[in-house]
Amino acid sequence: MSASVQTLVNQPYKYGFVTDIETVKIPKGLNEEVVRLISAKKEEPEFMLDFRLKAYRKWLTMAEPDWAALGYPEIDYQDIVYYSAPKAQEKKQSLDEVDPALLETFEKLGLPLSEQKRLTNVAVDAVFDSVSIATTFRADLLKHGVVFCSISEAVKEYPELVQKYLGSVVPVGDNYFSALNAAVFSDGSFVYIPKGVKCPMELSTYFRINSADTGQFERTLIIAEDDSQVSYLEGCTAPMFDTNQLHAAVVELVALENADIKYSTVQNWYAGDENGVGGIYNFVTKRGLCKGKNSKISWTQVETGSAITWKYPGCVLVGDNSVGEFYSVALTNNCQEADTGTKMVHVGKNTRSTIISKGISAGRSSNSYRGLVKIGPNAEGARNYSQCDSMLIGDNAAANTFPYIQVQNPGAKVEHEASTSKIGEDQLFYLMQRGISMEDAVSMMISGFCKDVFNQLPMEFAVEADKLLSLKLEGAVG
């Protein structure tokens, strides 16, 4: 593969700057005292401290998983700061009081928060290291009964909802990283859509890791009551450091009868340099529970960043006729490793799920799809359709597909399709021989390959995602 293929992919990471801002950090390391300290700093009620301690004790008994197709040096959990917040950390009622350096940071990230500039149809919760610094449109949303705030605020203001649903979809002991998250999570978003309400705007959380030695442990909880509807999007970036930062998030979604939750992610954490130095370790547990009849949860993800990604957003389809969807584009380049996919667990009757996964691997990266489709004994009439396509760019990238299918009901219909293709010099030459320039050729191929997934993203972000991929891949081909 000629050098130009590689140069196209290797665009500089444009979100790699560090904001110089004074922070309050607790010392590195993790023990029961640290867990208590985090809870105390957040002035949490008793039930939260219990939740955290239970999770911490569980975590101590667990071993880090090693089954995913990933290779990374051992993580020293005592060398991580578990809580870091900008100094003037009291949450301001007016954005005018927020530290201008923070506002500027988010503006640089393309996410203006101030009243004049903010996006008109998207409410944003901005999370900086361990805390939420601002949530726009909170009051407007509340008029519709929609609660959109940081999870810290929710713990204080809606304790009964939090207590009822937190950990109900992802139990504290679900896996090693979810237990760790439950013990030390610092912030994240909380969404509550009351019965019969269609959320009037897109909700969005923007996560920013700023400190070099801080782990980000965010926790998101979205509850959609009967007949409600919401579309939520998260975005993630981090500065370039030559050390690795740990991001271990947990996201729980609950959809009650006829509720519809659409959850989109554009993940662009720092991926490390071309030699694999630095970058985020992104170990995430995301799961949605379609609890009510006819409910629907749809995951869409565009994963382009992180040194290592380990992520399987899933749906537990309990309600009869409920629907789970997973649309994913995962791009890896240089030394990135991604092991991502989904779990669709069919419990109720006539439950349906769709999985569309597109993996693009360039450089020396490795990109694996790992998915589970499980049809339980009572899931009469359940249906699943899975399609996993991989595209290799250059000669040194790897793509793997690991579909696991378990069917315990004979009336179910499960379809799986997989393909692997390659973009190389010859494909490009073919397009160029027809008069198309190399840049156009690459972007045609990438957006064509990903269009089934991009079509699922909210409009504003679909264009962004398309651009993001072209940017990331420029120079990878040719």
Binding site: D395, V414, E415, E417, A418, T420, K422
Partner: protein, 456 residues
């Protein structure tokens, strides 16, 4: 619980009563004995020009046995009914009238038809007056193509070896360089029943830049014509597709419901050639189709399509195997099965792409329609891909008729039964429409409709 009668492989009544001896046979011994017996009763004078080859195969066959389900290639298909059955030699002398086969004649190939009865050429029933640009005949026409017989990969397989050792005649199709045979050729193989075992054999050579369409058709005489619905056809067809040649090969197996059919299609393809196989398996109590093609040059194209229909207690098994050896080749496979009653369908599709077969593509799809809870489908894709610059896809589906679709048609005023028939026909049509002649498409569509009646 096995009884003497079920396990005896002998024709002789004396042996049948010799229960001591038979009961002591292990299953493996029975399977070996069965094959030896099939070899014994099938023995013919053979084809003089190939006597050495046939003798060699007979020697090999004497070491072989009927495979068991422990054999990975036969994991889903239990041959113990063949081991248990009683067959007699097909002497090739059964008289069959023109009327008896009238129902099988294809108007589109009325005068490009060659007929074999229990594996032996029958000139009276054949009519080759319109077969253009092609040499068609029996073993008398072997001439230059004889060098290919039993030389294709897979010829050492047990049933193929049995056939090679015992065939009495060979159907020969030879298309000369650049010749274009415009009229489809109908190769009609008639089984007369009465527990006869026959060894139909076919050798096809399409020389460079030639083109031909073959319809290989296995039928049994109906009861009105003296057929009793039993019998065993062990058929082998070898096809050599030379450079830039095009062979379209339809294979229809519509033998009687009490019979056994084991068929082999072995193909080698030279550079720039295209081979298309459209296999329809609807007959026989137990049938197996092995189709394999080996690429011997670049830019080879292979298309394998199939439809199996199993009702009652039928079992239909298809094993396909495409072996790539060169860059820039492509294959497409679509196998469909409809299973109703207690029918069983088996599909195994192997695709081998070694390192040197770069820039190839292989697509394989297996779709199954289950019309009853007692029907069963086993599907096993085997992709062995070592080359890294390839495009390979595979898919398998097993489903029932969709209530939503039936309901949709009902809501447009179509009654439930008709709606179900429509959907089943549509499922089958994707394969049947690929057949080159309209009369076969219509006949087979009608058969599908009639045979799935019980499921509706």
């Amino acid at each position: 619980m096995e009884t003497v009668n079920l396990t005896s492989n002998s024709l002789s009544p004396e042996m049948q009563s010799n229960s001591d001896r038979v009961e002591k046979q292990s299953p493996a011994e029975k399977r070996a004995a069965c094959l030896q017996q099939l070899l014994e009763i099938s023995k013919t004078d053979g084809v003089a020009a190939l006597s050495e080859l046939q003798a060699h195969a007979a020697a090999l066959a004497s070491e072989l046995a009927i495979p068991s389900t422990r054999d990975e290639d036969w994991r889903f298909t239990d041959l113990s009914k063949i081991v248990a059955a009683q067959f007699v030699a097909a002497d090739g002398k059964a008289s069959v009238s023109t009327d008896a086969i009238a129902g099988f004649v294809l108007p589109e190939a009325r005068s490009s038809r060659i007929v074999f009865v229990d594996g032996v050429y029958n000139p009276e029933l054949s009519d080759l007056s319109a077969a253009d640009n092609v040499t068609v005949g029996n073993s008398d026409a072997l001439a230059t193509v004889s060098k290919h017989v039993a030389q294709l990969p897979g010829s050492e397989e047990v049933f193929t070896t049995l056939n090679t050792a015992t065939f009495a005649d060979v159907a020969v199709v030879h298309v000369a360089k650049k010749a274009i045979a415009e009229t489809p050729l109908h190769l009609l193989f008639v089984s007369t029943g009465s527990n006869r075992i026959s060894q139909p054999r076919c050798m096809v050579v399409a020389e460079a830049s030639s083109q031909v369409s073959l319809i290989e058709d296995y039928v049994s005489l109906g009861s009105a014509q003296g057929g009793d619905g039993s019998g065993f056809s062990n058929a082998v067809t070898e096809i050599v597709v030379e450079a830039n040649a095009q062979v379209e090969h339809s294979l229809i197996q519509r033998e009687a419901m009490g019979s056994f059919h084991i068929g082999k299609t072995s193909v080698i393809q030279a550079q720039d050639s295209r081979y298309t196989n459209i296999a329809v398996q609807i007959g026989a109590a137990l049938s197996r189709h092995n189709v394999e093609t080996h690429h011997q040059g670049t830019q080879v194209e292979t298309n394998l399509y199939g439809l199996a229909l199993v009702a009652g207690e039928q079992l239909a098994d298809t094993h396909s195997n495409i072996q790539y050896n060169h860059p820039h080749c492509q294959s497409d496979q679509l196998y469909k099965a409809i299973a109703t009653d207690k029918g069983r369908s088996v599909f195994s599709g192997r695709v081998g792409v070694p390192k040197l077969a770069q820039q190839t593509s292989a697509a394989q799809l297996n779709r199954n329609l289950l019309l009853s809870n007692k029907a069963r489908v086993d599907t096993k894709p085997q992709l062995e891909i070592i080359a890294d610059d390839v495009k390979c896809s595979h898919g398998a589906t097993v489903s029932q008729l969709e209530d939503d679709q039936v309901f949709y048609l009902q809501s447009r005023g179509i009654d439930r039964d008709s709606a179900q028939h429509l959907l089943i026909e549509a499922f089958a049509a994707e394969i049947l429409l690929k057949l080159p002649v309209a009369s076969l498409r219509e006949t087979l569509t009608a058969t599908v409709t009639q045979r799935t009646e019980s499921a509706i």
